[in-house]
């Protein structure tokens, strides 16, 4: 009886055999080194079925939540479907379900996957257009709430991918996405303590998913979301966020506009650091460009935030 599946391939595994031994016996070129559950070279991810806790010793909470485990010390007790960790070469076909401009420079893209697509709100994926252009986008949807995968695409003048999405892409068109990746998500946050989310521009996308995930998971501490934009027109999802704040007393929405003629300059990093006076027990989720997020993370750390509670998702420009 085969109870182990690698991707779509059944792998024979004997009673008491480790996943790594079974993979190697089946001729799979699986990476490994220490064979003692330490070095993490043989890291795999269970996408269906649970792995024994002993195969996850030393991994982060975020990794455990995603089913990562060390194949060399994993003797499965139940049927497992696994993939190699970080295997982003696999592509899943998706169909454009909706495409809408939600602000002057942000397009909301909703995609329907052809097959089951498991992710945590706040993770990101690589989107590949016909012709092969590939870019990373954060996921703004919630797998339990939304039937689609939602991405927020910033329209960059001269941008290859965003130009294609803005000008050519239409409902019904087909694209491909990678498996989700990234560790910036709600799991592991303390449900009794505050969580603070700060993002600039389309850095709001993962935060929109994480906020709804926190509320869904009955987070009891306060939740504060700061959204930074250069101009007032750069703010988006304003009504949705305001409505969420009206519905949930624990949630507050704090837009920060850098060049604002009405209220004066309000820099995101400065605003967050000034307002979060006691960051020691707060879980942070910071998303945006490297300079801004580097500065914010450093300043919050210096103010007492704990390194393992500072989750970041840094947006890097396409090379």
């Amino acid at each position: 009886m085969t109870i182990l599946t690698l991707g779509e391939a059944p792998i024979e595994i004997a009673e008491g055999q480790t996943v790594l031994a079974a993979l190697l016996a089946a001729g799979v070129d699986a990476p490994y080194s220490c064979q003692a559950g330490v070095c993490q070279t043989c890291l795999h991810q269970a996408i269906e079925g649970a792995v024994p806790e002993t195969a996850q010793i030393g991994l982060s909470d975020a990794q455990k939540a995603q089913g990562y485990f060390m194949a060399c010390v994993c003797v499965p007790k139940e049927p497992l479907k696994i993939i190699r960790a970080g295997d982003l070469h696999d592509r899943i076909d998706v169909c454009v379900a909706a495409i809408d401009r939600i602000s002057h420079n942000v397009i909301r893209l909703r995609l329907e996957p052809d097959q089951r697509f498991a992710y945590r709100p706040g993770q990101f994926l690589a989107l590949t257009a016909p012709g092969g252009v590939t870019r990373n986008y954060s996921i703004a949807s919630h797998p339990d709430v939304d039937a689609f995968i939602e991405l927020h695409v910033r329209v960059i003048p001269g941008g290859q991918m965003s130009g294609l999405i803005a000008e050519k892409l239409a409902r019904g068109d087909r694209l491909q996405v990678s498996n989700p990746t990234g560790m910036c998500f709600y799991e592991g946050a303390d449900p009794e303590r505050p969580i603070v989310l700060a993002g600039a521009g389309t850095g709001l996308a993962p935060l929109w998913g994480i906020v709804r995930d926190a509320l869904q998971q009955q987070h009891r501490g306060p939740i504060r979301l700061y959204h930074g934009a250069r101009e007032r027109t750069g703010l988006y999802l304003v009504e949705e966020l305001q409505a969420l704040a009206d519905r949930h007393e624990s949630f507050s929405y704090r837009p920060c506009v850098l060049n604002d003629s009405e209220s004066g300059a309000n820099d995101l990093a400065t605003a967050v650091v000034a307002a979060e006076t006691d960051p020691t027990n707060t879980d942070f989720f910071l998303c945006g460009g490297a300079d801004l997020i580097g500065r914010l993370k450093r300043d919050l750390y210096l103010k007492g935030a704990k390194l393992q509670r500072l989750r970041t998702d840094i947006f890097l420009p396409a090379a």
Partner: protein, 121 residues
């Protein structure tokens, strides 16, 4: 007789010291520019390895590691004054944790022994 590492409190003491020490060096205008703020987790792990070594604890840090790890910083102007600043922050950290002055001096001496490797001389 207990070892320095045991007297200081072992691994939990190293964690407590890293938490204070890393914040101090990042906030120190004389040396902050030598510390990367993008991959802070990796940097904190290096601090932990360094402090384990200077506490006399089990470590696999070698002079070669210290040379390789700081070469690019020496090229950017890392010199004795910066090492002095790091050692000063280390001693302040230990005093803040209530470590005996004699042990503070012993740790400082161990840390100072890495100076030539760090500065690639």
């Amino acid at each position: 007789m207990s070892t320095l590492y045991e007297r200081l409190g072992g691994a939990p003491a190293v964690d407590a010291a890293v938490d204070i020490f890393y914040r101090r060096v990042l906030a120190d205008g004389r040396i902050a520019r030598f510390f990367d703020t993008v991959d802070m987790e990796r940097q904190a792990a290096k601090q932990k390895a360094f402090l384990t070594m200077v506490f006399g604890g089990p470590n696999s840090y070698t002079g070669k590691d210290m040379r390789e790890g700081h070469k690019h910083l020496v090229a950017r102007g890392l010199n004795d004054s910066h090492v002095d600043a790091v050692l000063e922050n280390l001693s302040t950290t230990l005093r803040q944790l209530g470590v005996d002055e004699k042990d503070v001096q012993e740790v400082a001496a161990l840390a100072n022994s890495a100076r030539d490797d760090v500065l690639n001389r």
